[in-house]
Amino acid sequence: MIRPEEIKMSSEETGKWGMVIDQDICTGCQACVAACAMENNVTFVGEVDSGYGRSMHWIRIERFWEGEYPEVKMTPNQPMLCQQCGHATCEPVCPAFATVHSQSEQLNLQVYNRCVGTRYCANNCPYQVRSFNWRDYERPEPLPNQFNPDVTVRRRGVMEKCTFCIQRIHKAQDKAKSEGREVVDGEFTTACAQACPASAITFGRIDNPESLVSQLGHRSHGVKHLEELGTLPNITYYKGG
């Protein structure tokens, strides 16, 4: 929850964790989608439900085209995931505080066991990146053998979404703490960034000007999606650079 005195204007908001996505080098191979599903125990929805718009991927590759057939031109692929807004629209509308803002990590968290499934957050998300567990989906073999023990398995009726692999963030922080040092930039990354063969996704601390993500993020033609809504997104996109 954001209190009025904590609402900052776009220029002064820095955030903590951020991402830079270069659409020009994204090949649309969906490796990030698969890696995310495996890392975060995202369930297997099946063809029918997926075709009806119930796919539950936390990251998706959006493909668009320009022009009318047959003069069709593909535009760069657009990986879309939770933008980890600094001023998220999903947070204030949840009646049960199931989606909250982490003050320490500056991320939007989803508390699965507090969610009652009003789906208001998903309606109010301008990026449409929240996934709802429409049913208790069966995972075909051998998927049940590869659950990530660090991530909760969600049941039906619960909303879920990208967490910026918060389990990896915590693991790296714990390790650094036990070794008595700070987390080094590039020491760990999210599953999607790790899996991307083209290195189109870069993840890191945006409040550290030395980090790779900050360096990349300061190029001039970066775009933050739907910034005009005042959501303060933490992902910068590059296209046509």
Partner: protein, 472 residues
């Protein structure tokens, strides 16, 4: 000659107006008791049995499946996370509004024509809210945890989020349900006391409990009148707030087509529009099926509610136009896309159907007093308005949700288990009414009698004039 003419004028007024056609209290008591105690016919049992089956299958069996298997049985998807369940919730809350409007506002403004049908209208409020409650709980992904939305003391100090319009919605609807039930109950006390004194067996016990030992002494009446007065005034702001808060669920969201500042009053007028239509249909059914009701519910009542319907239809048209204009002038490209999607998209037939049902039909029929006083005709208009208002909510929720700022996710909505569940709520609403018609006096006899006592004919020279005296 002139005396005879005046006499026939008086006769004419008497025939037309219930308030000028008094019967002794004993006779009216008898009529209302007979209407209630009349043994149900085979037709009643046939409809009752059929509706019970519909409720058992549509409401309870389907809901159990929905809970066991998940919301996937419904037609919701990304980006249409809200579907017919929310449409039905808004629809039923809308219907419940006219009950209070008729009963409380007309009581406060001392509109005399309200007297015979306040009870029927208040029942509509309570029964409608029950269906709204069903619909909103069906919508939840994990309904068994719905109590988390209530502020209850708990060890972890977890409270509902008061920033969320949904929390306010729940509080407002709960307040409204409780207060409207009490407001239904207070004017019922003298009538159940009357029924208690005229019945035997289990009914006697039932009415004895409901009547709370009311004997009709001066002191009891004074308390009752005070109570009713307080409730009549206090429930009006509650009523307005409930539907405004329902509209905030949409208006407070950052969705094109929802983010409209006019939604509060627009929803209230829409609620009254559908509620009046439902009220008049209920009155026509009561008048047509129950004994002696043609004495209590007359053409004048349909005429009066018909006028209200016409005015509300005009107000709705204004707010609809205003909402459209304001959003269009906003210049947001997504909103403009959405507004064109409304009328030119695949659901355009529904958009035009809404305008025909909500504006064209009422305006074409309700301007004429003769047509307005014809029960079946006004009732048909009322039902058509309800269809139109359901369309309106359908356009606001699933149709508007199809278009958002992420074109990759655009998709259409196909209802699934919402259909049996929606029909189940409608059947349950009618079922509750049928049960109520046999269990409680549907006509507030004391209120009718009070009105009749206040009205009298006075002669000024040759002119016969109706005068109404203040009783309270």
């Amino acid at each position: 000659m002139s005396d005879k003419k005046a006499h026939s004028h008086e006769e004419h007024l008497r025939e037309k107006h219930l308030m000028l056609d008094p019967l002794p209290r004993g006779k009216m008591n008898e009529m209302v008791m007979e209407a209630m105690m009349e043994p149900p016919t085979w037709k009643f049992w046939l409809i009752f049995g059929f509706l019970s089956i519909v409720v058992a299958y549509g409401l309870f069996y389907s809901w159990a499946r929905l809970i066991m298997e998940g919301v996937g049985l419904a037609g919701v998807n990304r980006p249409i996370y809200w579907g017919i369940f929310l449409v039905n919730t808004v629809f039923w809350i809308g219907i419940s509004h006219a009950g209070t409007f008729i009963s409380a506002i007309l009581r406060v403004f001392k509109a005399e024509f309200r007297r015979p049908f306040t009870r029927a209208a208040e029942l509509m409020t309570t029964f409608g809210l029950v269906q709204a409650g069903f619909s909103i709980f069906m919508h939840l992904g994990r309904v068994w945890l719905a109590y988390w939305l209530m502020p209850y003391p708990n060890q972890r100090m977890l409270w509902p989020n008061l920033h969320s319009p949904l929390t306010w919605d729940l509080l407002a609807i709960t307040t409204y349900l409780l207060s409207s039930t009490m407001y239904l109950f207070l004017p019922l006390i003298p009538d159940v006391a009357m029924a208690r004194d005229r019945s035997t067996g289990w009914r006697k016990t039932f009415y004895k409990i409901l009547a709370l030992g009311f004997r009709g002494t001066e002191g009891e009446w004074a308390h009752l009148r005070n109570g009713m007065n307080i409730f009549a005034f206090a429930i009006i702001p509650v009523m307005f707030s409930v539907h405004t808060i329902v509209s905030w669920d949409f208006a407070a969201a950052t969705r094109p087509g929802w983010n409209s500042t006019i939604f509060g009053p627009y929803f209230i007028v829409g609620a009254l529009h559908s509620g009046m239509g439902a009220a008049i249909a209920v009155l026509a059914v009561i008048r047509g099926t129950m004994k002696h009701m043609k004495y209590f519910i007359r053409g004048e009542h349909f005429d009066a509610i018909g006028k209200l319907m016409l005015i509300i239809s005009m107000a709705w048209a204004y707010f609809f136009f205003n909402d459209y204009m304001v959003q269009w002038y906003g210049g947001d490209k997504w909103t403009q896309l959405l507004l064109h999607f409304h009328e030119a998209g695949p659901m355009g037939w529904m958009w035009f159907g809404m305008l025909i049902c909500n504006i064209a039909v009422p305006w074409a029929i309700l301007w004429n007093q003769k047509w307005r006083s014809t029960p079946w005709l006004v009732a048909t208009v009322g039902i058509i308005i309800n269809v139109g208002m359901w369309f309106e909510r359908y356009i606001i929720i699933p149709v508007s949700l199809s278009i958002n700022r992420m074109p990759f996710t655009w998709r259409m909505y196909q209802p699934g288990i919402e259909i049996p569940l929606g029909i189940g709520t409608l059947a349950f609403f009618i079922l509750l009414y049928m049960a109520a018609s046999k269990l409680i006096p549907l006509i507030p006899v004391w209120e009718v009698q009070e009105g009749q006592m206040a009205h009298e004919f006075k002669k000024f020279g040759r002119e016969t004039v109706v005068s109404v005296s203040e009783l309270e």
